[in-house]
Amino acid sequence: MRAKLIVAGAGASIAALSVVAIVAFLIAKEAISDSVMNGLTAVSTNQRQQIESMFAHYKVDLKKVSGDTQITQSLRHFVATRDPVDRLVMNQILVDRLDGDSDDEYFDIHDTKGSIVASSDPGHIGPSSYNSMLDGILISVGPVDTSDGVMSVRMSEPIVFDGRTIGYVTVQHSGEELNDIATGYLGRRETGETLIVSRDSGGNIRYITSLRFNENGDFYRSIKEPEVNRIESLALTGYHGSGTDLIDYRGERVFGVYHFIESANIGLAVKIDEAEALSPLIGLGRGLIIAIVIVSMAIISAAFVIARYLVDPIGRLTRAAESFSKGDLSSRVSVESTDEVGILSETFNVMAERLQTANEELESRVESRTTDLRRSNQDLEQFAYVASHDLQEPLRMVSSYTQLLSRRYSGQLDDDADEFIGFAVDGAKRMQSLINDLLLYSRAGRQEETFEEIDMNGVLEEVLSNLESRIDSADCTVEFSELPQVVADRRQLVSIFQNLIGNSIKYRAADRASHITISARRLSAACEFAVTDNGIGIDPAFTDRIFTIFQRLHGRDEYQGTGIGLAVVKKIIERAGGSIRVESIPNEGSTFFFTVVDREVSANTENHDERNDLRAAS
């Protein structure tokens, strides 16, 4: 039971806690992911706004230049006359503009063919390779000067006169501000990063912001179109989206949110490593496992404690009760607590003690009673024997001399004398008979027994031969089927059968031939015999009386006998450990059933005597 308790406890706790842990974990993961994604979304949205605002700001500044009437006039004039003064004027204005904004690097003014006609940096004047404005792209971001790898933002704005574009003004900002936007957000932690990417003329992806995880700081890279879920390429698809299963340039799994900023043709991706995003979960997971282990151990310990304080005592109590019921009356149980179990144990002990004591008392009482009984029986037996033996002698005198009188003087005295003598003789004879039978009865079952394997058929043949003359004169038929073999005392069996069959012959019906049947059937440790006759039968009211000593159901004139036969038979049978009963229908017949215990051949006389003594008392 203890094992069951512990296993059940452990199993249940681990199962339950595991389920809870898993659910908690999943919920936590969901929550954390949501939280991270929300954060990323907020950051990216904020950054996008900042970038767009930055561009707007740049545009406003640029428009100040493109809308400057002096510039417009000068450009118009220059395009027409190519007057160097116009250039100088424009240059000066550009230089002045530059000072106002620390972020600007230079201003260029292009003609419609693309050549730079004026600039804040005179070195730029000349044909330009920068044709983006001709492509319609007014903002381009990317490194112009690859030697120091610094990113820049270039913006162009058309200069319009009279509804016609006469040129462009381009400004180049350093990319510092963009970089700051990209890197300056809360919640970057260890792996958070904003990528700003664009597609180059070859269709490859270009990294505009510096890469956090690249020591070289080489952020101008092109990569061939990468695999699915690559956050950089997703950012350039033109759609806004997010995902928790994206991959970055390191091949790491990231959570990310991406935007496409159409005005600048750049993609914005804010990401954080999945590992870092879900890092709280590790702690949670660890914590849950530790909790499961601790709680399980606690439950197992509790189970052990329960086992020790509840199950074990109950087990001990059960075993003590079992062994007590099996006969060990000295079994007790140790009391180790004061709770209900302790009380139960205590109570059991008290009860067992009382039972044991009572049993011992009973045993000793039985023993002393048995001794008394045995002695009393012996006294009785002795008395019966001595009495009947000593009575014999004087009785013999009376009997013999009355008979002698009768012999010698019958006919010589008067009729009265004859009659008187007759009654005296008769009385003496009957007394003789009674004493004889009393002696027989007192001796019955007390003689030494010898147990041997007996062939019952042989026993019956002996009996029938003893009764031969009576059987013949009564014209009886006796039959018996195959009788079993039993281990018992032969003399007793002969005596019993002789008595019963003798009775059947004596109490035969007058109007039909007497037929006696003997049969037997086996019981578990004994054999039941039956003697059936078709005689006069017995009134059911008297079936107990007939086994009583000297009890008769008929007058002396009808059937002779002292009425001791069945009492003797019953005594012999019961002394031998069996029982006798009768079933009878008046005027039809009777059947006497008796059991004979089948014994081992080694006689156990001591126990036998003891049992016999007890039987005699009943």
Binding site: Q392, E393, L395, R396, M397, S399, S400, Y401, Q403, L404, R407, K429, Q432, N436
Partner: protein
């Protein structure tokens, strides 16, 4: 007809009379002497005391239970005595006890008879005794010289 001398050792007068009555009808004429206990019987057999002229019996009918000296003791003495041991002793007693039977034969009684309680049967038994012991059986011849 030769006379047979029988010594009846019996303490109950009633039984003595019965036995005598029974033997009265015997075919062989017999003369019965009676001793009422072992001491008397011994005096009789040794011709001592009152019985100086006693005739040596040819048959002794012996009861077992008697006062002073009982039949068992007497039997032992008789059968040990060179002079007396040849006399057949028929133990005639009411006892049916196996112990008594065995003891008697042990003490070399010639036979043991239980007295029937019924008179008729008793008469039959006594008749049988005298038939057997007095007519069928050859009794030892009487010794002519009794004194050494």
């Amino acid at each position: 007809m030769p006379q047979v001398n029988i010594l009846l050792v019996e303490d109950s007068p009633g039984d003595v009379r019965l036995t005598i009555e029974a033997l009265a009808d015997a075919k062989i004429s017999n003369d019965i002497s009676v001793a009422s206990d072992g001491v008397e019987a011994l005096e009789f057999l040794r011709n001592e005391g009152d019985f100086v002229d006693a005739v040596r019996p040819d048959l002794i009918l012996l009861d077992l239970n008697m006062p002073r000296m009982d039949g068992r003791e007497l039997l032992g003495i008789i059968k040990d005595d060179d002079d007396l041991r040849h006399i057949p002793v028929v133990v005639l007693t009411t006892s049916q006890s196996e112990k008594d039977i065995l003891e008697s034969y042990d003490l070399r009684a010639n036979c043991y008879i239980t007295k029937p309680v019924d008179l008729d049967q008793f008469l039959v038994v006594v008749n049988s005794i005298q038939e057997f012991w007095l007519s069928i059986v050859k009794l030892p011849p009487g010794r002519t010289d009794q004194a050494a």
